[in-house]
Amino acid sequence: MRSTPPSPPSTEITAPALYARRREFIKSGALFVATSAALGAGLTSLSSLGGADPPLRPGPLPPTINGAAPWHIGKRGQFGTTEAPNSYEEITTYNNYYELGLSKSEPATLGFRIKPHPWTVHVTGEVAEERTLDVDTLIGWFGLEERVYRMRCVEAWSMVIPWLGFPLADLVKRLAPTSRAKYVRFTTLLDPEQLPNQESHVLSWPYVEGLRIDEATNPLAFLALGLYGAPLPGQNGAPLRLVVPWKYGFKGGKSLVEIRFQEHQPETTWSRSAPSEYGFYANVNPAVDHPRWSQATERRIGEFSRRKTLPFNGYAEQVAELYRGMDLARYF
């Protein structure tokens, strides 16, 4: 009988060269994991800059969406489309509102900074009486109706949105503009506290848009205060915004503080920033391309394939007459 266990066979003894490399192996492995993780994280965050990720911290939704009774909708408006509206989430998380950030997702994160109550709108220029109107007064005057409109962005995407508001024509009529009022200018709020990206100079603030007076009194032109039966969230232009469905979306000035009637065509923000790309009219027109991309087709948000863009965004019957005899390639 043996009293000591046998020593392991020599084949099981780790070779000294391998044993010495153990540390190096562990070290290389650790460096591999750390480097690839750091590189992967760095690349992922760099490539997300300026992207359209959904917001990480969506702002609070307007109270009426979360259970409380929605706004009373006085009537269903005309010109409704039978197309399926986009979801509330799509409409409120994919926005162009440069004053709240340049990406599509930032406005939803920062929209809560806009304080929509109390809110007044100055009516100025060529009107019977210059005055300051409370938004609640406007609702009292006109009530609220729902209009399901197509919205075509100049960037070749589109949505269908159930707006809540009143026809702009009703307001124009009530304000009684003078005969010198040939154009209407719409000015967005100027307040970097509420619109933080107004600290930057990517565009000249405040944002200014405009319509010809006959466009403003066309029954399609609309002032929206809500969507999906609830007050507009900040990112969609709370508390009051312009909706001109036959024109590209940028014509719809948001968070309006002034409506001015004037004799001359207003200088609008985007046409001032890039006059060769964005005109005053900005009518949706598949035949007139943006200099950098085609406007012939669009992607409806939520759809996989592109669809053909329609002249005047499908509202030619209502508005084509306004532009009879005009060269729409020149007045784009």
């Binding site: 190096e24 290389s28 492995g29 460096l31 591999f32 994991v33 480097t35 690839s36 993780a37 750091a38 590189l39 992967g40 994280a41 690349l43 992922t44 760099l46 490539s47 997300s48 800059l49 300026g50 992207g51 359209a52 990720d53 959904p54 986009n86 989430e89 799509e90 998380t93 994919y94 440069y98 340049l102 599509k104 997702s105 960037e155 995407w157 930057s200 990517v202 565009l203 920033s273 890039a274 391309d289 200099p291 950098r292 991309w293 085609s294 012939a296 087709t297 992607r299 948000i301 939520g302 394939s305 592109r306």
Partner: protein, 210 residues
């Protein structure tokens, strides 16, 4: 001290480079790319392409500035990552964004400077990717191979231009990437000047000794 082995560096670069693509694919499938997922994927892959191009073009400047040798060991890998990313960017544009409407895409390439510039950069990357293997250097001869691969500078400039022409109002990001490239070019130029001056100095000291 023994020379550090860097055999983990290339695998780590490849793994790290694939992570953002995996992340985009994952978010695309889980509907976490926002309301316009195709546009988001297209933009993010485009930005990744530019990052890889700038990274591969920054290897030599990093060696010049810090006398590091490790950047040169991943230069080819980064260049191939750029090629993979640019190819994917083009495929997403052609297949997902444009529904494979080849005629519309061809018209866009011819008509729109920003798309034309991007497409030319993609085409120029093809011969570089094809001749990226070590054997190609021997087959072409080093000077011809090097001349061909100088196209990478042009590709980098075209990529920045493509991005610059694309953005609507805020040019900060394209300008930053342009600065990275520009700084690299300056460092290369300075190193080249210094080298030719050193050679001249040595030549003149030789002739003085003779």
């Amino acid at each position: 001290m023994a020379k550090p082995r860097l055999n983990w560096l290339v695998p780590a670069t490849i793994t790290g480079a694939l992570i953002p693509f995996a992340s985009i694919a994952w978010r695309l499938l889980r509907h976490r790319l926002g309301a316009n997922p195709i546009a988001t994927a297209l933009n993010q892959i485009g930005l990744l392409s530019l990052i890889f191009l700038c990274a591969s073009l920054s290897c030599t400047p990093l060696k010049i500035a810090f006398t590091w040798n490790w950047p040169l060991r991943i230069r080819r890998t980064l260049g191939l990552c750029a090629f993979f990313s640019v190819g994917l960017h083009f495929l997403v544009y052609l297949v997902l964004d444009q529904d494979l409407a080849v005629l519309a895409v061809a018209r866009d390439v011819l008509k729109r400077p920003f798309i034309a510039v991007g497409f030319v950069a993609f085409l120029l990357l093809l011969p570089l990717a094809v001749t990226s293997r070590k054997g190609s250097v021997a087959r072409l001869g080093f000077s011809r191979w090097q001349l061909l691969h100088r196209l990478a500078y042009l590709i980098g400039v075209l990529a920045v231009l493509h991005f610059y022409l694309r953005v609507k109002a805020d040019h900060t990001q394209p300008i930053l990437y342009g600065l990275v490239l520009g700084l690299g070019f300056i460092l290369r130029g300075a190193a080249k000047l210094k080298k030719s001056r050193d050679i001249r100095l040595r030549a003149s000291s030789h002739s003085a000794a003779a």
